[in-house]
Amino acid sequence: MSLTVIPKSSAAQREKIVNFLLGASVIVAFLVAWELVGSLALVNPLFTSAPSRVLKAGLILIQDGTLFQHLAVSGTEFLLGYGAAIVVGFPVGIMLGWFKGINASFGPFIAAMQATPRIALMPLFIIWFGLGITSKIVVVALSAIFPLIVNLQVAMSTIDADLVRVARSYGATRWQIFRSVALPTSVPFLITGLRLAAGRGLLGVIVAEVFGGSQGIGYMIQYAGATFQTDKVFAGVLLVAATGITLDFTLERLGRHYDRWRGESAVH
């Protein structure tokens, strides 16, 4: 093809680099200031810790294996709860959006459930499921399920009526319309739901472990805080933050992959 391809202008590229440097410099400045506040003895590092101390605490946690112990527990809780939320939330959301009768019956109940702060039910879950990982899995699942349900419900209401009419005019059955129109429509909403659910689920794990338990990253943070080990607290918090960012980034990339027909970010 003899299409004129406009090369990415050097100005645009320079702007990208400048923006990156601006963002990075603020983070670096913050870390330096944080370090200095402690090392210049402006504040007792017992309260503020410092990047170098956090790093050291993190390395120790890795070396003595406690980090992986806690990580394994939290990871299991998260994956099982998140998985359960997907397995249940996806079909429930789709059905609520697809069948008007089901929405009329269960919609208000689900809206009420969604408005209830799940973490406030934690004492109940401990009574019901004990202090082990089951109560945490339940919290994660209940935290993650609602963004999925709501997003898929909305997805079904955004189905293009013209596409349905076309399918019907070609004699499509309801099931064929569902497969060829409704499901593809739901994909971007599913991804958005998964991203929101991952954030909520992660929060659920940590708060549930802080609430009660004897293992997991949340417990580790809580225990370290109660014993004034601020370095360890920060190490745990940073780990959770890094996990959240990684999850979100991965899901966002996945979403872009399935969204390439939309064009703005067309990849060929």
């Binding site: 076309v166 005019s169 129109v181 027909w261």
Partner: protein, 306 residues
């Protein structure tokens, strides 16, 4: 459909009226007297493909709660290979009528038959081309063209094979791997048309297929459809409010009254085929457009349809 669009069409026809009037003064308005230079394009002894008998379509007016009549005892036949167009004012019920033929709207009285079989719902013997291309945006062009075939249970590969004839005919080859958003409005509408033709329907239904396109693309698409239909000889029922489009493409133009719609006139277009877009400049063409316009205008004035 925005009503302003319709107003514009009606206005532009009006502007054209004085020119046409001069022509019409020189000749009688009747079409029968026009010279026929070629043998009648569609012999009357061909098989009847679509037969509509005393069709009545009512709809529930949600505001008033009453059932109103949209289409009132419409009756006509279309023979194999005929291109028939329904024209009428916007909102007269012609699209409702076409939807009923497609099986998307229930009728209250009367009968629709395609190749002798009574129509009771959507079916593979008809395929509809809507005003909006309505392509599945997440499917590439190729899979959009085969969509209708796949819905009838055909495997994608087999469907592609079957559709390839029309892909070539509508000159879409090379575009199979594009996504709809990468195509212009005219190209999208061609995919829409190819999707319908790929199903090889007994009757092709066109619902204002070019109304959403810009004026230039519309002209080009009209010519392309003209060539296409003359090549494949499909039986076509089209709905439009563009009289010149109707005259250019059709063997017969059926004029619908204002709502509730009934047939005001069934005008035979004796212009010989193959036709080219240039015939729009001929007096014969203008005379036919004027004749149809006068029928609509007369009815609108009497019925207060505008």
């Amino acid at each position: 459909m925005p009503s302003s669009n319709v107003d514009k069409n009606i206005k532009s026809s009006r502007v054209a009226t004085p020119v046409v009037r001069i022509n019409s003064a020189e000749r009688p308005a009747s079409v029968v007297t026009l010279p026929v230079t070629a043998p009648a394009p569609k012999p009357a002894d061909r098989e009847i493909k679509l037969s509509v008998k005393d069709l009545v379509i009512g709809y529930l007016d949600k505001k008033s709660g009453h059932t109103a009549v949209a289409v009132d005892r419409v009756k006509f036949d279309i023979r194999e290979g005929e291109f028939v167009t329904i024209v009428g004012l916007s909102g007269c019920g012609k699209s409702t009528f076409l939807n009923a033929i497609a099986g998307l709207v229930q009728h209250q009285h009367g009968e629709i038959r395609v190749s002798g079989k009574v129509v009771s719902g959507p079916g593979t013997d008809r395929a509809m081309v809507f005003q909006k291309a309505s392509l599945l945006p997440w499917r590439r062009v190729g899979r959009n063209i085969t969509y209708g075939l796949e819905l009838s249970g055909m495997k994608p590969d087999e469907a592609r094979e079957k559709a390839s004839y029309y892909v070539n005919l509508i000159r879409l080859n090379g575009f199979e791997h594009h996504y709809p958003h990468q195509l212009s409005g005219g190209m999208q509408q061609r995919v829409n048309l190819a999707r319908a033709l790929a199903c090889d329907p007994e009757v092709l239904l066109l619902d204002e297929p070019f109304a959403a396109l810009d004026a230039i693309t519309r002209e080009l698409m009209q010519q392309e459809l003209l060539e296409l239909c003359e090549k494949v000889g499909k039986t076509v029922l089209m709905v439009t409010h563009q009289i010149d489009e109707a005259v250019l493409l059709s063997d017969r133009v059926i004029v619908f009254s204002a709502r509730p719609a009934h047939v005001l006139a069934d005008v035979r277009i004796p212009i010989p085929r193959p036709r080219r877009g240039e015939i729009k400049e001929t007096e014969e063409f203008r005379g036919l457009v004027h004749q149809i316009w006068s029928i609509i205008e007369g009815n609108a004035n009497v019925g207060g349809g505008i």
